[in-house]
């Protein structure tokens, strides 16, 4: 419980306009995009790193939890105030401070919306590649905390590949600078990369130096329909083996295709077992040559049909299917559980079959779609949280999906993070030694466990 004295002090630190403790505001900061919910006592909007430092020092003195939050659109419970206390909303720290077109980096505050950053640098012919589906609303700080991925992951990598340096407020309220804007840096432990993906448990980033790359000159888009899922999977493998790394290589399964046709009617063949959406990008000739190679491979692997886009309007049409995937699936049942278990690319057919089998055995509707190129599929369970019995089956199915991914040499999460959603399974993947080491690191950064406690099984007594 926050004392009145603490609340007064918080109000002084951020100013009354940035301090919210009404019940309505507390409720609005109690959730994210998962089914988890936990009430904070207070939400504050800091505007400077010094304020965050003061808040964290106070948290250590007075013994309350501080949970950082961006847009609150995370998919693993990272911004849920599991231990109450203060929610630190970073959206008012939203300035894009610098775009350096010589050294190819941008400097942004954590509250900058990812799509806004990408649009701003695009004006200079540059690309900030990580493109999570939430990019129009999610924040750079949130993306850094969760090591967000996106559709470009296969060719371009993920958030952690684009963070050069950070200003961080540590959980004890110290100001830390990590990394370097230089292209290479071999200086001490790589604290930048430890903090990226640490899910807001090791520090609060207050300034983020992002690497930029040149904006590709040209894009080619193809969409292929397969009547046989294995053929689609073989195509994916063959494309990579042929030395083509497409910018995007997305997959939609039979359930997803039918959901799209039920709700959007864009004319996809309902009997199709798989649809692949592929984009190559780069210099014009290279992108075209790669696309031609991809086309050849798709045909060799018995794609029922392959469509290409001659212009942006046609490109948008081909993309419509992929864009409609999640929104169509969400309309099937009231509750949507979006999973993220990832496997090596070569095991995708086993993963898709395994998930289908899990769905059948538990009598659940599960759609599968996602980033076939990098093995990061999104098995999506469509259920109704009010149906206690069915929901229990869904929870069992989720556990089995985790087990399946691990058994195929994969990982619990490709891009959504562990947070609360997968914390109880973490030990199965990293083992007792891994968990002990993570806890030791957490303790070194945050001896009093004030910053985002209750996540990733870091609390010694469990979440």
């Amino acid at each position: 419980m926050l004392s009145d004295a603490v609340k007064t002090r918080l109000r002084e630190i951020v100013g009354p306009a940035n301090f919210l403790d009404s019940l309505e505001d507390r409720i609005s900061y109690s959730y994210d995009a998962t089914l988890y919910q936990a009430m904070p006592e207070v939400a504050v909007y800091p505007e400077h790193a010094e304020q965050i430092a003061a808040i964290l020092r106070l948290a250590n003195e007075a013994g309350f939890a501080v949970t950082p939050r961006g847009a609150g659109t995370g998919l693993s419970g990272g911004s849920i105030a599991a231990r109450g206390g203060v929610v630190l909303v970073l959206t008012r720290m939203n300035h894009l401070l610098e775009i350096n077109t010589d050294d190819l980096f941008a400097v942004a505050e954590p509250g900058v919306i990812t799509a806004d950053l990408a649009a701003a640098v695009a004006k200079h012919g540059l690309l900030y590649p990580p493109d999570p589906a939430s990019q129009a609303v999610s924040t750079l700080g949130g993306n850094v905390a969760e090591n967000a991925g996106g559709l470009r992951g296969l060719k371009y990598g993920v958030t952690r590949n684009y963070i050069l340096a950070l200003d961080v407020v540590t959980p004890t309220g110290d100001l830390l600078h990590t990394g370097s804007v230089t292209v290479k840096c071999a200086t001490g432990y790589d604290l930048t990369q430890l903090i990226v993906g640490s899910e807001g448990t090791l520090g609060v980033a207050t300034k983020i130096w992002c690497k930029l790359v040149p904006l590709p000159e040209h894009k080619e888009t193809l969409r292929a329909v397969f009547s046989d899922m294995d053929a689609a999977a073989r195509s994916v493998a063959a494309i990579i083996r042929a030395g083509v790394i497409p910018a995007t290589l997305e997959f939609l399964d039979h359930v997803t295709i039918n959901a799209i046709e039920d709700f959007k009617r864009i004319g996809l063949p309902r009997e199709a077992e798989a649809i692949l959406l592929i984009e190559t990008d780069g210099q014009r000739d290279a992108a075209r040559a790669e696309a031609a190679k991809v086309m050849e491979i798709l045909r060799e692997n018995h794609a029922q049909s392959v469509q290409t886009a001659a212009n942006d309007a046609e490109r948008a049409q081909l993309w419509a299917a992929r864009r409609a995937a999640l929104s169509s699936l969400t309309r099937v049942r009231p509750t949507t559980i979006l999973e993220d278990a990832t496997v090596p690319r070569s095991r995708i057919p086993d993963m898709v079959r395994g998930v289908r089998d899990i769905g059948r055995r538990h009598n659940l509707i599960i759609g599968n779609f996602g980033h076939a190129g990098d093995g990061n599929l999104h098995p999506t369970i469509l259920t109704d949280a009010r149906d206690v019995e069915e929901f229990a089956r869904a929870e069992k199915a989720i556990e089995e999906i985790f087990q399946l991914a691990l058994s195929l040499g994969g990982t619990l999460s490709g891009e959504h993070g562990i947070g609360m959603a997968k914390a109880h399974f973490l030990k199965n993947e990293i083992g007792a030694a891994g968990l002990a080491l993570m806890r030791a690191i957490k303790h070194a950064f945050d001896p009093n466990n004030v910053l985002n406690p209750g996540k990733m099984m870091l609390d010694a007594n469990g979440e």
Partner: protein
């Protein structure tokens, strides 16, 4: 799903940055209320009333949640539960009940702007419903509408002094009975004059005719009630359905078939703002553009978000939160300028007034004109 995509498009959220001021937040607050974790507090009420009803959230919501319907239903439930309205809305309601218009100007003066021949209705297939904004706040455009219709040789009438507020502002307050009363009064009048088509220059009225009024006429029985007794509504038991058009839809038809011949050139770069009531709520996007394109010299540019994705001007908050309304309008003005526009054209009297506030707020010079006024200028 709580995906939060509404945060990208909600004008009130973009001004405040408060999660409780975006669709996701409001829906979650209502969920908390339904689950017994939140009472019908003033805080809940105020956030429900701070919504523009623009429905941009519905368009962007991956699950298609009908947020505006939820907000309006909540306001009705609050009203029925006897929850007092927020002060500015209570004052609005007093004006609406007092003088049957949101401006609080005298009921008896509603038709005063009309040339004498239009103050009394006659039988005609086409009826022009002027609306409160035209009648009380912007009769300049109203007079232009009359002149354009005369130029095109249209056979039309108005209710004139007998016209009543369509009921939209009162419906949006949550007062369903009040809105029904307005509906019945207007429908009773239309019935007397054999109206087949209603045209209106007011987008809010158009929305009401297409949905709220249509709901009523669709359920009308074809025969007298079997027991010969009183129909549930004693006002107008038998009503044929009528077509409802924005005046610009009729003007677009008339420009296309030559009844109207815009001649005078208007060499300007114009961005048309798809107002929420005429656009998302009434489905009319092309007619205003068609009218503008019929004017020689006009070069149309688009706002970055347009048609179904258009962003609200902030007008619905003019009475209750004028600072925020002006800030939202200022954003629209800046967007128009960035799109290369020298002028913003609108088809809604609320957009017209509020965008001018927005231009002041943004400290820029940009012309704001009603599409009708631009057509009128070109027809002279």
């Amino acid at each position: 799903m709580k995906c939060g995509h509404c945060r990208e498009v909600c004008p009130v959220f973009l001004e405040t940055g408060h999660e409780a001021m975006v669709a996701r937040g409001r829906v979650q607050l209502l969920k908390a209320f339904l689950e017994g974790n939140l009472e019908l507090t003033d805080g809940l009420r105020d956030r429900i009333f701070a919504c523009l009803n623009c429905d941009a959230c519905r368009i962007t919501c991956p699950c298609g949640i009908e947020v505006n319907e939820v907000i309006l239903a909540t306001r009705r439930a609050m009203f029925e539960a006897g929850k007092p309205l927020p002060d500015p809305h209570r004052q609005l309601r007093e004006r609406l009940y007092g003088e049957q218009n949101p401006f609080g100007q005298k009921r008896a003066e509603r038709g005063a702007w009309l040339p004498e021949k239009y103050r009394m209705p006659r039988c005609a297939p086409l009826l022009l419903h002027a609306g409160c904004a035209i009648s009380y706040a912007n009769n300049r455009v109203g007079k232009m509408v009359l002149q354009i219709l005369e130029m095109a040789g249209a056979d039309f009438t108005l209710l004139g002094d007998a016209e009543e507020c369509c009921g939209d502002p009162i419906l949006r307050l949550g007062d369903l009975d009040g809105a029904k009363r307005q509906r019945e009064r207007n429908l009773a009048e239309y019935r007397k004059y054999g109206v087949e088509t209603i045209i209106t220059p007011c987008a809010g009225c158009l929305k009401m005719f297409k949905h709220f009024y249509a709901e009523r006429v669709d359920k009308v029985p074809a025969q007298d009630t079997a027991d010969g007794g009183a129909h549930p509504s004693s006002f107008s038991p038998h009503l044929p359905p009528f077509r409802a058009l924005h005046t610009l839809e009729l003007f677009a038809e008339m420009a296309a078939d030559g009844r109207l011949k815009p001649q005078k050139s208007l060499p300007k770069r114009i961005a048309y703002l798809d107002g929420c009531d005429i656009g998302r709520h009434s489905g009319v996007y092309e007619a205003p553009r068609a009218v503008l394109r019929a004017i020689p010299g006009v070069h149309l540019v688009e706002f970055p978000a347009h048609h179904e994705s258009s962003r609200c001007c902030g007008g619905p908050l003019m009475a209750s939160a004028p600072e925020m309304a002006a800030d939202i309008a200022a954003r629209r003005v800046r967007e128009a300028l960035e799109a290369g526009a020298e002028m913003i054209a609108v088809a809604c009297p609320t957009c017209f007034i509020n965008l001018k506030e927005g231009a002041n707020r943004a400290g820029v010079k940009i012309e704001i004109q009603d599409v009708t006024a631009l057509l009128h200028r070109s027809l002279k």
